[in-house]
Amino acid sequence: MSYTPFIMAAYLLSTAVLLWAALAPVIKKRSLLRQLKARQQRMDKTQ
């Protein structure tokens, strides 16, 4: 029995999980900042 597929699957899945964990807050923060800036600009215009 070749062990390579199990080792590769373990490393690939772990990389995917850690990448998701690392990137999720970065993506969410960018989107939140965009929303907040757009709202601030709208408020600046109305004043």
Binding site: A10, S14, L18, A22, K29
Partner: protein, 249 residues
């Protein structure tokens, strides 16, 4: 003012925490990447394969640190949750909530890599063994903390409920740790100290390096998530408005 008290007052202030963690995060990521690269190099090119398990032992460099992190993060959440409930320190509430997805990620990683290691060694991906089952319960506890926090409209109330759940759920940690001693399990006992089978120094070094690097991953990821939560909660406050105006120019 006493310097220790002053330090706690400073770190408890969201604008200060946001700014300070912003400087710290790139360094934590850099250290994580360097140590992980060294550990993986040693694990793949320097450490020998196991005389019984062959090359599958390389899964250990992911599985064991991930399992350690899954327990350590929940333990920290319980401690931070206790501090948040007793002293009402808001940053601690934020850190409890920010820790939960990172802990869930490490628990998932431990379960997946364990399953992929179990198939060639035990002949099965999964057994309802005490160690595996208690680790799965830990994953559900993490999901429970996240779901409980998201089920409240008022963030501070939500964080307090999640802190309480973190403290209650900590009962599972000694169960996970001692499961291999209390019950007959397919999962092996600890290789460290006591009557454990021991581990070759060439395998131990990359394992310990991975254990250290995952702490830096947790630190960087925790601070990124905590900053996001603070921005969401404080988006109407002056310091966030100032931050947005600074970024505009």
């Amino acid at each position: 003012m006493n310097p220790i008290v002053l330090f706690f007052h400073k770190t408890g202030s969201p604008p200060w925490f946001y700014r300070f963690s912003g400087y710290l995060i790139p360094w934590l990521w850099a250290i994580f990447l360097v140590i992980t690269a060294i550990a993986l190099y040693l694990g793949f090119f320097h450490a020998p394969v196991d005389y019984q398990q062959g090359a599958t032992v390389r899964i250990m460099y992911l599985h064991v640190p991930a399992a350690w992190m899954s327990m350590m993060i929940y333990g920290l959440m319980a401690i931070m949750g206790f501090i948040a409930l007793v002293w009402r320190i808001r940053i601690m509430e934020v850190l409890v909530i920010a820790s939960a997805p990172v802990g869930a990620a490490f628990t998932m990683m431990a379960l997946m890599t364990g399953s992929l290691w179990g198939r060639p060694m035990w002949g099965t991906y999964w057994v309802w063994d005490a160690r595996l089952t208690s680790e799965l319960v830990l994953l559900f506890l993490y999901f429970g903390v996240i779901a409980l926090y998201n089920s409240f409209d008022e963030p501070r109330k939500a964080a307090r409920a999640a802190s309480l759940m973190s403290i209650v759920g900590a009962i599972n940690l000694p169960i996970i740790y001692f499961s291999v001693e209390w019950w007959n399990t397919l999962h092996q006992g600890s290789s460290f100290g006591g009557d454990g089978p021991g581990i070759h120094p060439d395998m131990l070094l990359p394992l310990l390096l991975m254990a250290i690097s995952t702490k830096f991953f947790y630190g960087a990821n925790l601070l990124s998530r905590a900053r996001l939560i603070l921005l969401k909660q404080d988006h109407r406050k002056r310091w966030v408005q100032d931050l947005l105006s600074q970024e505009k120019h």
